[in-house]
Amino acid sequence: MRKLRKYLLVVKTGINSNLIYTADFLAGALFFALVIFIFMQLWEAIFFNDGSMEGYTVNRLVWYYIAAEMVILSKSDVFRSMNEEIKSGNIAYKLNKPYSFVLYQFSEGMGQIAVRLMTNLPVGLLLGFLYVGKLEGLNISALPAVVISTMFGILLNFFMDAFIGMTSFWTEDNSAFYWIVQKLSFMLGLFLPLEFLPKIIREIALYLPFSYIAYAPARLLTSFSMEEFLSMVPIQILYTVLFAALSALIYSRGVRKLNVNGG
């Protein structure tokens, strides 16, 4: 219980420190609004406000994109933070503290995510309602399933970022890995629903972790079915646990070979 309280305090600190930097906070919300605005314009230009594609109308595509982008943009800076801690050697100061480095990063990240979600959610809802109105065929009873899937999407994204961040124990520069993984999650579910992709790519994507970050919650919001919920959420949980375990493993291996010079 005491341990839990310790990490809850870090979550609280994470929330407070993110709320203090108002400019960053507002910049994040404005960027979220910008990308949604651009995609709204893009879909409208493609559809001319008429017709549908792969079962998606402009209304559903816009709401799909808002849900998917909310998961992606409500991520924490864990990749950058771990990278900096390891490369600068600052990690050395944290190793002798009475907490786990990974759990500390996790708790701080959760604080950051909470603030970003609190900002992005109203911005996304407002833009969606103003531009295309309420989501067509919204199933209110599906919302708890969407919330669960969003939560695991965010957690999966967090542990994948943490995992790549900790490769800096071995590599001089790991930003290329980060960009590639990030773009894979963009292409396999953020910019376009998987239904838009060629069949072979769609089938491969369903075996990979990337689509379970943004595609799963956005798909459940716009086309909920219990069958899809039961097929996607267990895989989300599986991949989240896998990447959490991999993060713990890479940390325990990496920290053993850590060599910090200077003081």
């Binding site: 400019a23 960053d24 507002l26 910049a27 404005l30 960027f31 910008l34 990308v35 651009i38 314009q41 893009l42 409208e44 230009a45 493609i46 594609m53 001089e172 520069d173 930003s175 290329a176 890995f177 960009w179 590639i180 990030q182 773009k183 894979l184 963009f186 292409m187 910019f191 376009l192 838009f196 992709l197 060629p198």
Partner: protein
């Protein structure tokens, strides 16, 4: 008559004097331009040599960035499998605007890697080092750093343009010109956002937003936007002059368009420089002693 001769003689002398002064001023300006061009080249050379010290990291970052951009090619390919045109833009047209955006921002961050870093430099008091050097601060501060991954952006743009047009020397020359001019214009706009730090304190948030707006407005066809957004794209955030007018000139060249574009670029760069110069007068050093390696 005599008086008149004398007067015209004095006037002639004055004119000659003014012309001489003008010549001197012009020569000094040309010399200063060449000196700063040399400074940019030297910074480029040493930044590149320093990046090449970590060759594997250099290649990884550049390739990673090129691959990162290539993912968007996939996105557009999927879209154009479903529709033949978006607001008059076909797949090849979108590739050209991607080539222009990618190379333009690549060029900017290779030569002027400190763009967007100025607020941090000012806030940390690191500007003092540049003030002590006998070179123009505006040029000196921006070109003293190179972003290695930007090489991936630059090369990616060239690969795309070669794929779209094939080896067409004239188009390639124009592309190089637009890359350089667009890069300088984008840098000038980002610099205005950076320079706000002199006036209102840390403007890194604004600077980041301006960059995001510039980049995001550059990589989707401008025809998807309404008139009000297009007004912004040709004034406040001139992506129209960075990417879309160059794209139109590449498709259908005309001299008036080219000269007009270069003149507009020069005006924006001039305003950005003057804004920086006035802002610099407000700078107060924190007397922090730093070293610039």
């Amino acid at each position: 008559m005599l008086m008149g001769d004398k007067k015209s003689g004095i006037q002639a002398k004055e004119k000659t004097g003014t012309r001489k002064d003008g010549d001197k001023g012009g020569r000094r300006l040309a010399l200063s331009f060449l000196q700063h061009l040399r400074l940019i080249c030297l910074y480029f050379k040493y930044n590149l040599l320093s990046a090449m010290e970590y060759r594997v990291s250099f290649i990884l970052q550049a390739l990673g960035m090129a691959l990162n951009n290539a993912f968007f090619l996939f996105f557009w390919w999927v879209i154009f499998q479903k529709v033949s045109s978006i607001g008059g833009y076909g797949f090849k047209d979108v590739m050209v605007i991607w080539a222009l955006s990618s190379s333009t921002y690549g060029f900017l961050h290779i030569l002027f890697g400190n763009v967007r870093e100025l607020p941090r430099i000012i806030m940390n008091g690191e500007l003092d080092t540049y003030l002590l050097q006998p070179k123009n601060v505006y040029v000196n501060v921006y070109c003293s750093r190179m972003i290695v991954s930007a090489w991936g952006d630059l090369v990616y743009g060239f690969v795309l343009i070669l794929l779209v047009y094939g080896f067409a020397p004239l188009k390639l020359l124009l592309f190089i010109l637009f890359t350089a001019a667009g890069g300088l214009l984008a840098g000038a706009i980002m610099s205005v956002a950076d320079t706000l730090t002199f006036y209102i304190g840390n403007s890194s948030g604004i600077s980041r937003l301006v960059t995001e707006f510039l980049i995001n407005f550059s990589i989707y066809p401008d025809s998807i936007y309404r008139q009000s957004v297009k007004v912004i794209m040709y004034t406040l955030l001139p992506t129209g002059f960075i990417v879309f007018l160059p794209f139109r000139l590449l498709s259908a060249f005309n001299w008036y368009g080219l000269l007009g574009l270069l003149a507009i670029d020069a005006v924006y760069i001039g305003i950005s420089y003057l804004f920086f110069k006035r802002g610099l007068e407000r700078y107060e050093s924190g007397n922090l002693i730093t070293t610039k390696l």
